[in-house]
């Protein structure tokens, strides 16, 4: 026994950890479920567990809110976790969005197939994979993976030291790398996306941790509060304040990578396109929320304490990143022809608008925080809703043409230069039933006339696009308004002006989709090389690649909307209601967001 004097057991305020613990424990239980629950019941158990855990986390966040607000934040676990109003608010946003995303993940649609590979470990196009598919296997590990990612995302914005932040970064990233690789269709594209994401993510993590080391070199601590203290009290390494700036910029680089801001955005389109669509929605909304939370915490706690001259340099860097991000996102978005890539560029542009809200971090007004929180919620609802719609719009095998079942897969193989894999796959598989539903119809031309055939779905999608475009009476407008307001309030009106001009460009591509859906008749089923570019997209992600698309050309001619099992419909409905409500009556949410604009270092 250690003498009591030498060891004081830390008092842990467990209550404040409940939201995170619920989610992480549910993730662990989910892994055990995989081992012990029989096949048939597994999906149902996992689904109930995941939704239950997220709902439980949300409830505990709501219950904790008044207390946290009153105490103005609590440092738990020796400052590793800081449950302050801001952190808790970001956790709340992440959980709400994750709940919606999980609903989309769970939906198997009327095809009775979910969006994930039957066995993730199988080599794409192999006989083993084929067998797994025919057995109707399901990869229910998806749910624990999502829960682990959510757990990481909840720790990320609510942590008080940079090392915990790094651990959270990895906890949220690793499951996402795996999830990205699990798309049921276009397996190679999906695996490549995952690999890219992993490599670039590892780089970003390395830069992040290098930055942490430099900050430590200056302050002698990785605790944000102590770094702040060292800066304010002048107790850091003598004459080396620029070290902390360098470290801070490297830390921010790691975080900006996660939010997909230019020039660290290049993974976004490929990963968004390759990942299973429900995961893309989850990733786009929740990762961005968590990473912006962490970004803002670092900026507010450490950035604010920088001496004015260094702070100015940091602001200049943010300006450059914001402008680049908005311009890259909108201008390159204009020429996209694949729906998922287009939404990816739109998400890059939104990252830019969000950074615009951040440039005022030096002022203690709270406008920026309010804008950021509101924007994250508004953007997340529209994004999850939009990707949910994408999961329902499918291609259908044409009746008379004999096409190998793995045509899309074979094409990808052929595009990758492995022509043999294409033939192998087609040799080993059967011909699909005429009219069998295939993968998602992501090429823009395939969305033509959707408004005539499925007015409700197309209407919801149009609403999400209008919200992203920032048209009044939708959530996106209030979000943009508050974001630009917080920029103009600190005199950054040129940034706001560039922001609105970028919005105008962005409107062009959102509106183009609305034109396609509502004003363009459904194309006649005569495939042209241009029209067939999307589904056969070669793994390098260039959607205009002509090579290897010809077998798919026949497939693009028929587009169908599959019925949801109900989960996706519920998610889309909630997103629609949320987008309208936040647009018309945003008062109460704005109040909440303003209350949440409090940090505890």
């Amino acid at each position: 026994m250690t003498p009591a004097a030498a060891f004081v057991a830390p008092t842990i305020e467990w209550a404040y950890l409940v939201p995170v613990i619920v989610v992480l424990v549910a993730g662990v239980v989910g892994v055990l479920v995989e081992a012990f629950v029989p096949d048939r019941a597994r999906r149902a158990v996992q689904l109930v567990l995941a939704l239950g855990a997220l709902a439980g986390a949300l409830t505990s966040i709501v219950l904790l809110w008044p207390d946290v607000l009153e105490r103005n934040g609590v440092r738990v676990l020796g400052g590793a976790l800081v449950v302050d109003p801001f952190g808790l608010a970001v956790q709340g946003i992440v959980v709400v969005l994750a709940l919606l995303a999980t609903l989309v993940v769970a939906d198997r649609t009327s095809t009775k197939q979910d969006a994930f590979a039957p066995t993730g470990a199988a080599v794409p196009g192999s006989a083993y994979e084929d067998l797994a598919r025919r057995r109707g296997l399901e990869q229910t590990e998806v749910y624990p993976l999502v829960l682990f990612a959510v757990g990481g995302m909840m720790i990320f914005p609510a942590t008080g030291d940079l090392l915990t932040m790094f651990v959270a970064l990895e906890v949220l990233s690793l499951p996402l790398y795996v999830l990205t690789a699990l798309a049921r269709r276009r397996r190679l594209l999906s695996q490549e996306a995952s690999f890219k994401y992993f490599l670039l993510g590892a780089f970003a993590s390395a830069i992040f941790i290098f930055g942490v080391a430099l900050v430590y070199g200056f302050a002698g601590s990785v605790q944000l509060a102590e770094v702040r203290g060292a800066l304010l009290g002048g107790t850091g390494l003598d004459g080396m304040t620029s070290l902390v700036l360098l470290g801070l910029v490297m830390v921010l680089t790691g975080l900006l990578f996660k939010v997909g801001a230019a020039p660290f955005h290049s993974w976004t389109p490929d990963v968004y396109q390759g990942a299973p669509t429900p995961i893309t929605g989850f990733m786009a909304a929740c990762t961005k929320a968590a990473a912006f939370g962490a970004l803002l915490r670092v900026l507010y706690v450490v950035g604010q304490a920088l001496p004015p001259d260094l702070q100015e340099k940091l602001v200049v860097a943010l300006w450059v990143v914001a402008i680049l991000t908005m311009v890259v996102g909108t201008v390159i978005g204009v020429v996209q022809t694949d729906m998922k890539r287009l939404l990816a560029y739109s998400s890059i542009a939104h990252a830019g608008f969000l950074i615009v809200a951040l440039v005022g971090f030096g002022e203690l007004s709270g406008f920026g925080v309010r804008a950021l929180l509101f924007y994250l919620l508004a953007y997340g609802l529209a994004t999850i809703g939009a990707f949910a719609v994408v999961t329902l719009v499918r291609e259908r095998a044409p009746q008379p043409v004999v096409v190998p079942a793995e045509a899309d897969l074979a094409t990808v193989g052929a595009g990758a230069g492995a022509g043999t894999s294409g033939t192998a796959a087609s040799a080993g598989s059967d011909v699909p039933d005429a009219g069998a539903v295939l993968g998602e119809a992501t090429h823009l031309s395939e969305w033509a006339g959707l408004g005539r055939r499925s007015p409700w779905l197309a209407g919801a999608f149009a609403l999400f696009l209008l919200s992203m475009a920032g048209i009044p009476l939708t959530a996106g407008f209030i979000a943009k308004f508050t974001a630009f307001q917080s920029a103009v309030a600190v005199g950054a009106w040129p940034l706001a002006l560039i922001g609105v001009l970028a919005s105008a460009v962005a409107v062009f591509f959102y509106v183009r989709i609305i034109v396609l859906m509502f004003f363009t008749p459904t194309p006649t089923p005569t495939p042209t090389p241009q029209a067939a570019g999307g589904p056969g997209t070669a793994p390098d992600g260039a959607s205009s690649t002509g090579g290897g698309t010809s077998p798919v050309a026949a497939l693009t001619s028929r587009v169908t909307v599959v019925r949801s099992e109900g989960f996706t419909t519920v998610a889309i409905a909630i997103c629609v209601i949320g987008v309208i409500l936040l647009g018309v009556l945003p008062s109460s949410v704005l109040d909440l967001a303003f209350e949440a604009a409090k940090f505890r270092p």
Partner: protein, 521 residues
């Protein structure tokens, strides 16, 4: 000052209910009655407006009346604030008058495809709510929200129901032009609040005007803000050189859409200049006035010349509107009580006159076997369809401001007012009147005189429904031409109020035409 009955809110809500009813009904088996329901809502709105006017004190038209103010988003300083002065009431009247006529005119459009017609009529009623609201908004943010949100129904009305393959292009061009202007205005709106009194009612127009009167903005800030607002309004109005979206939109939209678009929606631009730019940024308005006046005069001449050169009847009418909007802007930025009240009245008259022209042109085109809009494909219809020809002539003459028609009154007010402020501007602008005679009479000549082509020989004249559409407009033009006093009562005092807000006196040479006209008629 709160009235017992929230008239203006009711006026906004009724068309919304109507839109919901039309959409709801269209999904049921009772869709045969779709059009009737839409017209009933249009007429009910007209009745409601009559009641609202009876609650309005016309002797005090310069004061904002029937006001209602409720907190909407206090966190951002936004209120739901409505209220109308004479000008606003006049423009609300224009919207409410045109909507039932447009619904009637669309009776047989979309080839009896009721499913499609349901969307069209729903959008028209939805747009009516936005139009009424935008004219009575007394909160800059609320105004901005409506200003932008109303683009969406119009966008669908052009892109979804127009004719021709180019309609998508026209719809997108319309939307992008308007949004580009609107988004720049958004930055100005934000900056306006931050420079204003702030607080939970910081966006109320009156609070802002009072605040800036007491604490003038720095010169450069005021000018930048003015430009932000003015650009959006100039695109909307549309003023040369940002007018290019209008001919495309008008060409490809159905006639009813063009009527509302040019007749009412574009007035939001000039209305915004009058009720926001001038009172909020009086010094910057005066600073910019010389340039704006030049642009207005260029618009007058350019629009008229382009109209003469058009071969497409819808584009022609659109260009005549560019010319007329030049007159309105000229009147506003000449800063005399005569020209400002003339411009206000002009807004109303132009809506009636252009609305009549677009609707009649729509009837004309619908009669052509190939739905041709080319002037060259017509001729000699005066004998075949005398009523159509006669009404078109009256509407056309109103476009060239023939004495006896209401447009004459407003145009002479603008010109005389301008003359007292700037001789050259008025002298050049008068050329526009001469050119107007050319484009109207040449068009009439091409379409209605001469020998009718074979395919038009048996063309039926206007039916009863179509006569009902045109008659109210012709009556309004004639009645207000001979007895403009009721309308002038509404615009006179707001014009005085605007002058006070800008802080300018009439030049000594301005004739007291307002009272002269009152005794004339």
């Amino acid at each position: 000052m709160t009235t017992e009955i929230p008239w203006l809110t009711l006026l906004i809500a009724l068309p919304l209910v109507g839109a919901a009813a039309v959409w709801g009904l269209g999904a049921t088996s009772a869709r045969k009655h779709l059009r009737t329901v839409a017209v009933v809502f249009g007429l009910a709105e007209l009745v409601l407006l009559g009641l609202a006017i009876s609650a309005f004190d016309t002797s005090d038209a310069g004061t904002v009346q029937l006001t209602e103010t409720h907190a909407w988003i206090p966190q951002l300083g936004v209120s739901y604030a409505v209220g109308a002065d004479g000008v606003a009431l006049l423009l609300v009247g224009l919207s409410v008058l045109l909507v039932p006529l447009v619904i009637l005119a669309a009776w047989r459009e979309q080839d009896g495809d009721l499913a499609k017609l349901r969307h069209y009529l729903g959008l028209v009623l939805l747009l009516e709510a936005f139009m009424v609201a935008v004219f009575v908004a007394r909160d800059v943010f609320f105004f901005y929200v409506l200003f932008e949100a109303m683009l969406i129904p119009v966008y669908f009305m052009i892109g979804g129901f127009g004719g021709g393959a180019q309609r998508r292009y026209a719809a997108v061009k319309f939307l992008l032009f308007s949004l580009a202007g609107g988004l720049v205005m958004l930055v100005a709106v934000i900056a306006l609040y931050l420079n204003g009194p702030g607080g939970e009612q910081g966006f109320l127009t009156q609070n802002l005007v009072d605040h800036f009167a007491a604490n003038p903005l720095p010169v450069s800030v005021e000018r930048l803000l003015f430009l932000g607002f003015f650009l959006a309004f100039a695109i909307k109005a549309p003023l040369f050189p940002v007018h290019t979206w209008l001919p495309d939109a008008a060409e490809h939209a159905p006639a009813g859409t063009s009527t509302l678009l040019v007749g009412v929606l574009d007035k939001v631009g000039t209305f915004g200049m009058l009720t926001l730019c001038l009172p909020l940024f009086p010094h910057a308005s005066q600073w910019a006035a010389p340039v704006v006046v030049v642009l207005a005069v260029v618009s007058i001449l350019y629009g008229a010349l382009m109209a003469i050169g058009q071969s497409d009847i819808m584009r022609l009418i659109a260009y005549t509107s560019v010319s007329h909007f030049g007159f309105i802007v000229l009147g506003i930025f000449s800063f005399t009580s005569l020209s400002v009240s003339g411009a206000s009245f002009y807004m109303f008259n132009h809506g009636i006159s252009t609305g009549a022209l677009f609707l009649l042109a729509g009837f004309l085109v619908a009669r052509h076997p190939t739905r041709s809009r080319r002037l060259a494909d017509y001729g000699g219809l005066q004998r075949v369809t005398p009523v159509l020809a006669g009404t078109f002539l009256v509407a056309g003459l109103s476009a060239l401001s023939l004495p006896g028609l209401s447009t004459f009154v407003s145009e002479i007010m603008v010109l005389v007012g301008t003359f007292s402020r700037s001789h050259p501007a008025a002298l050049v602008a008068v050329l526009g009147v001469v050119l107007a005679a050319l484009y109207v009479l040449l068009t009439y000549q091409k379409v209605f005189t001469g020998k009718a082509p074979h395919d038009l020989v048996g063309t039926p004249d206007l039916g009863a429904r179509e006569k009902w559409v045109v008659a109210p407009l012709i009556v309004a033009l004639l009645a207000l031409g001979f007895y403009p006093a009721p309308a002038l009562d509404l615009v006179r005092e707001p014009a005085q109020a605007t002058m006070t807000a800008v802080g300018l006196e009439d030049p000594a040479t301005t004739p007291d035409l307002l009272s002269v006209e009152g005794s004339d008629s």
